[in-house]
C-alpha cells in the first residue's frame, strides 16, 4: 500500500494530475457536453457524486471479495457492473425522493455509466495500490478535477461562439487544441505536490 496522505492525493488529483488533462479520461462526454456552462456544471456534479461512491464501493469489493476469492482477473467486469448498477440505483432513488434533483440531474445519469473517467478512477486506484481513504480522496479529487476542466472549457466555448475560427478547425479540432493549451497551463501546478 502506498504511503501518500489522502490530502496530497486530493489536491494532486484536482490540479497536478488532473484526470482529464493528464490521464485523458472522460474525453467523450467532455467534448459532447461542454457547450454550455449550466450543462457542464450539472454533469460535473453528477460525476463527482458517482465517482466518490463507486471508488469507495469498488475498493471494498476488490479488497474484501475479489482478493479472498482469488478472482482478480474478473476485476474489469465486476467494476463496470458495479458502476452500471450503482448509476441505475441512484437514478431510481433520486426519481423517487427528489423529483427536482431528478429533473436537474436525471438526463446526465445514464451518460455517466459510459464516462470512462469513472471506470478509469476505479482501475487506477487499484493499479496504484491505494488504501480506502486514499481511494475516496482520489475519487473525490478526480471528480472535482474533471468538473473544473469541463466548466472552464464550457466557458471558453461560449465565448468562442463569437470568434472566427478557420473552417477546417471548427468544432472538435479547435476544442482539442484549446484543451492542449489548458493542459499546458495545468502543468504549471506541477511544483505544488507530487504523487
Amino acid at each position: 500500500m502506498s504511503e501518500v496522505s489522502p490530502w496530497v492525493i486530493l489536491i494532486a488529483s484536482i490540479f497536478t494530475s488532473n484526470i482529464l488533462l493528464t490521464n485523458f479520461l472522460g474525453m467523450c462526454s467532455f467534448l459532447a457536453c461542454s457547450r454550455q456552462v449550466g450543462t457542464a456544471l450539472g454533469l460535473g456534479t453528477a460525476v463527482v457524486f458517482v465517482m466518490i461512491c463507486t471508488a469507495a464501493l469498488n475498493w471494498c469489493i476488490y479488497t474484501y471479495v475479489l482478493i479472498p476469492l482469488g478472482i482478480e482477473h474478473l476485476w474489469f467486469i465486476i467494476a463496470i457492473a458495479v458502476i452500471a448498477a450503482f448509476v441505475q440505483f441512484v437514478e431510481m432513488f433520486v426519481e423517487r425522493f427528489s423529483p427536482t434533483l431528478y429533473h436537474a440531474l436525471g438526463i446526465f445519469l445514464p451518460l455517466i455509466t459510459v464516462n470512462c473517467a469513472i471506470l478509469g478512477a476505479s482501475l487506477l486506484m487499484i493499479t496504484r495500490h491505494y488504501g480506502f481513504l486514499q481511494s475516496v480522496a482520489f475519487g473525490f479529487g478526480g471528480g472535482v478535477g474533471w468538473m473544473l476542466a469541463i466548466v472552464l472549457m464550457a466557458g471558453l466555448r461560449q465565448k468562442m461562439t463569437y470568434s472566427d475560427v478557420p473552417r477546417p478547425f471548427k468544432g472538435v479540432a479547435v476544442v482539442m487544441i484549446i484543451t492542449g493549451i489548458m493542459a499546458m497551463i495545468f502543468m504549471g501546478f506541477a511544483g505544488m505536490v507530487k504523487i
Binding site: C28, A84, F169, G171
Partner: protein, 226 residues
Amino acid sequence: MANSPAPIGGCGSGICCGKGKETFKAGVWVTNPIAIQILGICSALAVTTTLMNSLVMSIALTFVCVGSNLFVSLLRDVTPRRVRMIAEVAIIATFVIIFDLLLKAFYFEMSEQLGPYVGLIITNCIVMGRAEAFALQNPPVVSMLDGFANGIGYTIVLCSVGFFRELLGAGQLFGYTIMETVANKGWYPQNVVMILAPGAFITLGFLIALYNYMSGANDPDKETSP
C-alpha cells in the same frame, strides 16, 4: 439473411449481403470513428506516446471490436431489448479480459506500459457504438467486417498520432533513432511537450483539422458553432 433490416444500402446477395465494400469504406474513412464520430478519444490520446504502444492498442481494439460484434450479432435474436446494454457490456468485457490476459502472459512489459487503458476498452465508445448501431441489426459476417473496418479506421488515426508524437518528442520511431537528439550529441532538440499530455491534444486537434480539410467537411452549408 436477406430479411434483416439494413441501415446502410440494400441487401444484395452473397455472404456479406452485397454491402461488404460499403461497410468497409464507411468504417475506415467516411465515418471514421475518431475523426468524424469523435468516439474513443481517451485511449487515442493516452497510449500514443510511442508508435509501438499505438499499434498494440489498435490491435487490442480491433480484436475486441470484431469479437464483440460477432457475438452481439449472433445473439441479436435472443437478447431481450431491455437488457441489451448489459449483455453488450458483458460480451465486450469478456473479450477485453481475454486480450488483457494474453498481453500479460506474452508481453508483460507492454501490458505494464498500457496500464489501465486496456481495461478501459470496455467503456470505449467505438466498441459499444458499433455493437449498438450495427451488430444488433446485421448478420454475423458483415458485423465482423464492420468491427474490423472500424478497428482499421481507429488504427490509422492512432498510428498517425503515435508517429508524430514519437518522432517529434523523442526523435525515434518504433524505438529506433531517426533524428539524433541534442542530449545524445546529435542535432535535434527534443520537443518534450509532444510526449507529455498537451502534445496529444494538439496533435489530434491538428489531425482532425487536416481530415476536415481533406474530406471537405465543415462546408458552409452545414456549419456548426465551434
